[in-house]
């Protein structure tokens, strides 16, 4: 190693350790890819962990309301990186015309959470790798690295297993699956620093066009851009160092109701 071991190296190695640990414990793993910067970084780390060949499926929960750029990006890199991509939708909800105009809460729940439940049941995944970070939202700070969900997908945040010295929980019989969070200790700016260092491709939506950019991307209908002139990674990093607005401020789920995120999450939302 020519560079000295810095903060990003530390984060990278910790994440690779966790990804390998999840695969070693469960084998039936899937990586949940929202195509955003975090889960794409997670994918990058998984490629490193498995020397370019991720030995498990990559799952995209398609609400059908994503930006076109997201679909294009997904298909391009799924091919380039040789991913075993599974696209999952809640077909019944799509057929019934579910959309944010009905209820934002119900739409998120149906199109994301239920779609995910269906996919897990169909594919019999025992563990899911997710790119969530502790600094994203207060409730996410409560997460463990290996976090059990019961058969109803519920997260019992009050009675979580202890986690010490990189020894993580294994699956117990009555639990549906485990969520594994290799990026928990990363901050938003760490992700960008790493994206830059590693030259990781991310959707163009993150970069400013006509004075606006997206800090967090999801469904086209429920994501607002922020005012910004940051059209390069350097400018984004610079912006993050000076901004005082929190990352998900453009997201409808977080604003609508003080506890909507918590309710969604305890129902199994990502």
């Amino acid at each position: 190693m020519s560079r000295s071991f810095d903060h990003l190296d530390k984060l990278e190695n910790q994440s690779i350790f966790i990804i390998r640990e999840a695969y070693s414990q469960f084998r039936d793993v899937a990586l949940l890819w929202s195509i955003g910067k975090d889960s794409t970084t997670l994918m990058w780390l998984a490629r490193k962990a498995f020397f370019g060949k991720i030995p498990f499926p990559v799952l995209h929960i398609d609400t059908t309301y994503k930006f076109k750029e997201i679909y294009d990006f997904r298909d391009k890199y799924a091919k380039e990186w040789g991913l075993n991509l599974i696209v999952a939708k809640n077909e019944d909800a799509v057929a019934s015309g579910m959309g944010p105009d009905k209820s934002k809460f119900e739409c998120c729940n149906q199109m994301k959470t239920i779609a995910l439940k269906q996919a897990i049941a169909r594919e019999k995944f025992k563990a899911l790798l997710l790119g969530i970070r502790r600094d994203e939202h207060g409730i996410r700070a409560k997460e463990r690295v290996f976090s059990p969900r019961d058969e109803d997908f519920e997260w019992d945040y009050k009675d979580q297993p202890p986690e010490l010295w990189d020894q993580y929980k294994t699956k117990a019989a009555e639990e549906e699956h485990l969520r594994v969070h290799p990026l928990l200790g990363w901050r938003e700016v760490d992700i960008w620093d790493y994206v830059k260092r590693e030259n990781i491709p991310v959707p163009e939506l993150y970069f400013a066009k006509n004075g606006k950019r997206f800090r967090s991307i999801g469904c086209e209908c429920c994501c607002g851009p922020v005012e910004s002139d940051a059209d390069t990674i350097d400018k984004i990093v610079q912006e993050l160092k000076t901004t005082q607005i929190s990352e998900r401020s453009g997201r409808a789920q977080d604003k609508e109701d003080d506890y909507m995120m918590q309710k969604l999450r305890s129902l199994g939302y990502m």
Partner: protein
């Protein structure tokens, strides 16, 4: 500015002694609060009929806000002029000791907060004991709520001397004792005008003096095998170097089989490399075709950990169901996972008072510490915790759950 390594520290102490308030104050004083977060806290505080409470920032869950207790480990980021910090807020309530341990096991330093009025309480002691068990060496003691004792030096000295006596008995030597008021901000970022008698550092200055954990590079090689992958017909062993370093050509020994071979290649995706050091997750191949497995320990001949099936340990039980000596457990130490039993529980100790509950016992209750002898079914490669933490600490599994943590005190 390069992304330098942040310092991870935990704040522990008895419930209500002021952890959340102190953290809120740190965020406020270091200008780390986003305006929308600050507004949210103000709004929530008002809704709950209270003045702006910094504690709400952390206690982010609805129920928690209502009950007014911190229930889980939360991480918060802030920075001073000198460096960045990650605070791990560890809950003070007794029910949440396993969350406190989860938090503290990730920390490089600890802040022990003690209420100037109440002084040393049950969880003050238990948490201190856990810090000592987890091997945390850097400790800052803050005596909080000095505003409630008229900023009196006598009271400060009194509480300090109580806590010092206790910490001494468990081998913790704090780096600093600091009188503060989390609510008013005395001696947090700025020197208190109310306590002229105190000549030491402010809390923030004391943090800046703490050190990051040094990497284990100078120690003997320990590389536990995490998994083995078959990639394009090549078997690649993977693992994280826990101590020392390796490079291509190095002679190695594999425990517990005692086979000897040499490193043929060090593998990293998209990187050409022939060496790696402590902290790195790597792949490697060997010159002879030896079949490695998860749990094998790679080391250097002549500098091996001890391979044994019996050793002495301090084991901390953290499950509501008590442990009875007939129960079979699985020990996990680094990537080793082996069936075992507890042969004897020589002492059963109350982790708060440190009083001896029973000698030669046959059980451990929740939150009790046992001085035990452990016998494994197959040989295990270990070190004393005081020598190499990574091979000197373990967890116990019962019915797929982590039920205990422990440190190895003597090798047989």
């Amino acid at each position: 500015m390069k992304t330098q390594t942040p310092l991870n520290f935990v704040i522990v102490g008895h419930v209500d002694h002021g952890k959340s308030t102190l953290i809120g104050r740190l965020l406020y004083d270091t200008n780390s609060l986003a305006p929308d977060k600050l507004a949210e806290v103000k709004k929530i505080s008002a809704e709950h009929g209270r003045e702006t409470e910094f504690a709400f920032l952390l206690d982010h869950l609805e129920e928690e806000r209502k009950q007014g207790i911190t229930i889980d480990t939360t991480q918060v980021f802030f920075k001073t002029q000198k460096r960045r910090y990650v605070i791990i807020d560890a809950p003070g309530h007794v029910e949440f000791v396993k969350n406190m341990i989860t938090g503290a096991s990730q920390a490089e330093a600890a802040v022990l907060i003690v209420d100037a009025v109440e002084g040393v309480k049950e969880q003050t002691k238990r948490h201190s004991y856990m810090l000592s068990m987890l091997g945390l060496k850097q400790v800052v003691v803050v005596i909080n709520k000095m505003d409630l004792v008229d900023f009196a030096q006598e009271r400060f000295n009194e509480v300090c001397s109580d806590i010092e006596n206790f910490l001494d008995s468990i081998n913790i030597k704090p780096n600093y004792y600091i009188p503060i008021s989390g609510i008013k901000g005395d001696n947090i970022a700025n020197k208190s005008l109310n306590m002229d008698w105190y000549k030491g550092l402010t809390f923030m200055q004391s943090l800046d003096e703490l050190k990051n954990n040094p990497a284990n590079i100078e120690k003997d090689l320990i590389l536990p095998v995490q998994d083995v992958y078959k990639i394009d017909d090549k078997r690649i062993n993977v693992g994280r170097i826990e101590a020392g370093k390796i490079k291509t050509g190095d002679a190695i020994k594999i425990l517990p089989s005692n086979q000897e071979t040499a490193i043929k290649s060090v593998e990293k995706f998209l990187e050409e490399t022939d060496e790696a050091t402590s902290g790195e997750c790597i792949g490697f191949t060997t010159q002879d075709s030896v079949f490695l497995d998860r749990g094998d320990i790679i080391c250097r001949s002549g500098a091996e950990p001890v391979v044994t099936n019996r050793f002495r340990a301090n084991m901390f039980w953290m499950s509501r169901k008590s442990f009875s000596i007939e129960q079979k457990l699985i020990i996990r130490c680094a990537t080793q996972e082996i069936r075992c039993k507890v042969e004897t529980i020589e002492k059963r100790i109350n982790s708060s008072s440190l009083e001896l509950v029973e000698e030669n016992s046959d059980k451990l209750e929740n939150l009790e510490v046992g001085e035990v002898v452990i016998k494994t079914k197959k040989p295990i490669a270990i070190k004393k915790f005081s020598q190499v933490q990574e091979l000197g600490r373990f967890v116990m599994i019962l019915n797929e759950n982590i039920v205990a943590g422990g440190i190895i005190t003597e090798l047989d």
